[in-house]
């Protein structure tokens, strides 16, 4: 009985204390809160450090997405790169869970601290590749998938990726 009473008193005391701390609530939208770079807001597609499209259309983000709001189609460029012919996110379905970013093997898809995406029209929430693609590298600056991958593309032949030996000459008899 006494214990319960004390608990009540302690609670009231704690609440009282809060009256003198700095307010967490900000006067949004006049005042903008600080959002860390890893905040999960509007999704973008980034480019690699060389300025090439990072997305290789592997479909992992799409399959990771719990609400299935990502759809894309792979294509192959003249230089041998895989890329998305179209890439669509239906933000009216997206729950900003960040699973796509987790799944992406190339760091292409990233969530950004922008959450202000109100529209009067739901169809305006459907973002195509041109709306998603940004020029920069986003949060991860250095990674370039094709420097690591074994697939040859124009400008990076077999054996020129990181940690790769020069291609084997099948006709050589040397050990």
């Amino acid at each position: 009985m006494f214990k319960a009473l004390m608990s009540q008193v302690r609670t009231i005391w704690t609440i009282l204390q809060h009256s003198f701390t700095r307010a967490e609530t900000v006067q949004y939208p006049e005042q903008k809160p600080y959002l860390a770079p890893r905040y999960r807001g509007r999704i973008v597609l980034t480019k690699d450090p060389d300025g090439e499209e990072r997305c290789v259309a592997c479909n992992l983000c799409a399959v990771a997405c719990p609400v299935d709001c990502i759809a894309l189609q792979q294509g192959v460029k003249e230089d041998g790169r895989w890329y998305p012919e179209f890439f669509r996110i239906n933000f009216s379905r997206c729950i900003m869970c960040g699973m796509c970013e987790e799944a992406c093997p190339t760091n292409a898809i990233q969530l950004t601290p922008d959450f202000e995406m109100c529209e009067y029209n739901r169809s305006s929430m459907v973002y195509e590749k041109e709306h998603l693609q940004i020029e920069g590298t986003g949060k991860y600056h250095d990674y370039n998938f094709y420097r690591v991958a074994g697939l040859a593309i124009t400008g990076k032949d077999k054996g020129q990726a990181e940690n790769e030996a020069t291609p084997i000459d099948v006709k050589s008899l040397l050990p």
Binding site: A62, V63, G150, A152
Partner: protein
Amino acid sequence: MPTIRIDGVEYEMEAGKNLLESCLSLGLDLPYFCWHPAMGSVGACRQCAVVQYLTDEDEQSGRGRIVMGCMTPVTDGAIFSLDGDRAKGFRESVVESLMLNHPHDCPVCAEGGECHLQDMTVMVGHRDRVYRGQKNTHRNQYLGPLINHEMNRCITCYRCTRYYKDYAGGTDLAALASHDHVYFGRHQEGVLESEFAGNLVEVCPTGVFTDKTLVNDYTRKWDLQSAPSVCTGCAVGCNTVPGERYGRLKRVHNRFNAEVNGYFLCDRGRFGANFVNNDERLESPGLRNQTGSYDPVDHHHALQVMAEACSGARVAGIGSPRASVEANYLLRNLVGEDNFSPGFNDREHKLVNLALELQQASSAVTPDIRSIESADVILILGEDLTNTAPRLALALRQSVRNKAFEMAADLRLESWQDAAVRNLAQDQLSPLFIAATGSTRLADVAEENITLAPQNIARLGAAVAASISGHAGEDLEPEIAGHVEAISTALRAAKRPLIISGTSCGNAEVMQTAADVAEALCQSGQQTMLTLTVPEANSLGQAMLAGPDSPSLGKLAADGNFDVLVILENDLYHRAPEPEVERLLATADTVIVLDGLDNRTTSAASLVLPAASFAETEGTLVSLEGRAQRHYPVFAPKGERRPAWVWLLACSKELGLSTAADLHHFDDITRDCAANIADLAGITGAAPDHHFRNAGVKIPRQPHRYSGRTAMRADISVHEPKQPVDEESPLAFTMEGLNRSQPGSLLPFVWAPGWNSNQSLHRFQSEVGGPLRGGTAGMRLLGPGQAKESGPRENPPAFSPTQGQWQLVPRYRIFGSEELSALSLGVAELCEDGYIEIRADDALGLEVGEGDGLNLNDGLATLEVKINNSIAAGCIGYAAGHSGTANLTPGENISLQKAQGWKRRRPQLIGSDRSTEIGSGND
């Protein structure tokens, strides 16, 4: 039955199997790479390691030895450990070492998501690459427009060369170099020669060999909507799984059917279905206007026009051996039995009906593929099987190995000991005799290759039949006589003789004598098999539906005085000589054509209705062994396209036909057809009807990881429509439902927990390599018949060449002889224009050489010359089914003149050759 103990649990196993397949049959997860259920074991990859203990004490103290599951026979009392740390550790280290050189490619690898290597890596628990050395790399090769090569991904399991060389008889793929330089490719870049190269896509457990059409328009397996389907490439009727995404057919995979195609398809089947995406596909109904072009109209309007034209008029219908039984049946009801032509040209009509009649009347059995593979002596009369019924040719390459298996059995060597059995037999093969009009693609495994004119092939057949039944043959030409003895002796000594012939050489006598040989063997008490090939996916079904007395195209043209001609999925200009087609089309005032692709026949119509392709509709097809098989729509047809049966049913209803009054569903048509056509009574057994539910639910066409549902159509509307409802089958266009234990005819894809690749198939089989759990798909309509009594037949007349005349013999190509597959991406690059094959001495006489033009019969056709010395003397071959050859009839005698003003074609350039040279590093 031997009992063995695995990790303390006792299991009863089937004797004669190896431990790996037994474990998989039990549902235990044991990783493997090099073993393949159709190719046996070689123990190359060391992945299926287990620990074997000799005694119980050993097991307790953990003193066992590591053995390979795939090389270890199950013997009574054996003790194994799969889960012990040593076995597991060993298997993990095997994957780790395979991964040392593996590229960081999964995101850009067409195998990803259905990669056996990924599955096995996860299964053994390997995660981090500890080794810090450099990775070996390889250059890729250009292997043609169908198959992509990415050699870095190889794990040197040797499955590809074992399949390509040992199983499929290819000669241009090999393991090159040694130790960790081993390379799997050709001696130089170029198109893979084997007609079965496409199976490498499924045989290779990694992404080295992938489907090039798919790579260039890629979709992961988990995103493909698929349905059980049947190949329409030829009459074998292989079971397939086509996959679709965004309304495009992406790829075709094999669907296991123990009795039809086992684990493999031919390349026509695998790569020849892409015509579904062709730009020439008709989009909407079209009504010809004054200027001769077509105005698009909607389906209501089109139906009204069709019904108005047909009502009260004399209507004739031309069906098609490439359309389903149901669509043909509806057309037959619409126009009446007497006015319905099955759509064969005159010769085809006679031959296909004869093929059916001979099989119905023969006491020999029409074998399924397993029986074909068990044959120990084979005689082929007049067929180049690899190009006319390709999958059967692959089966014959296994039959000729029965000699090897016999030798192995004598030494009590298990048949799955692949390397040992091959070593033992070396190049000893069971006898295969081929008599054809020229060399065939099975020549390398044949004991005797005999080249004869069709009439003489028939004479050879007749002589063999006479010799078997002990009648004295008449005096024969020396080129024939020399072979009769060897063939009949071998056949008489055979335990399971197989006789193969068919319609492809265009000669009825040849088929007839093949049946006579089979009958003679049956009479002497031997268990005999007889296979007769027919040209198209539903040729036999058409013969069963319409019968020999129905009008062929020529007969219809001759009788014809019709108001309306309704043509169902049949390009007449492809099938019959042009003058005959013109005559036929001129008999009617109104021509209505239902077809999928634009062609010359649709261009001659006044009303065109766009028909759904095989991948967008259900249908029953009857294969050459008389097996009725159902295919299902993989995706709903776009826009105004409708399945042909829907068009015809709607029109029949519009006309108020009493025959159509009770038909509402597809199943109703099938049932009605079965009830009214005696030969087709069994077709309802081809698959369960649309009421069937699998444990109370439908069967999903989409895997449970199907992605993008809420975004795929969001560019059109954010309001997601309900998935199309399939009221015609137990399958659903969704991911909901149960894909397990259903009848084999309803298997849309294979997947099992931990097994994302096609290797998961064993979870759907009653035992590894055995039939599917839910039963084998299809319904056989032909049983062994009762032979009619007939005395020795007159010997067919011999072939006597006339001076200055040559007899036309059709020659077939896997790519180009079939109409629709030739319109598929990739395959089209490999198809040639029509040509004729002529012996060098004849060419010399005509003063032409390779690449020149020849005029046939003063303008019947002008074709390019190819020199082929294997063609029978007095004959010339022509590329059947190719452009410019529709006017040619097999067996016709024609004269030849050098074509004046013929322009030699430039050397053929293949589009996808463009940048790929050794060293350019592109792929």
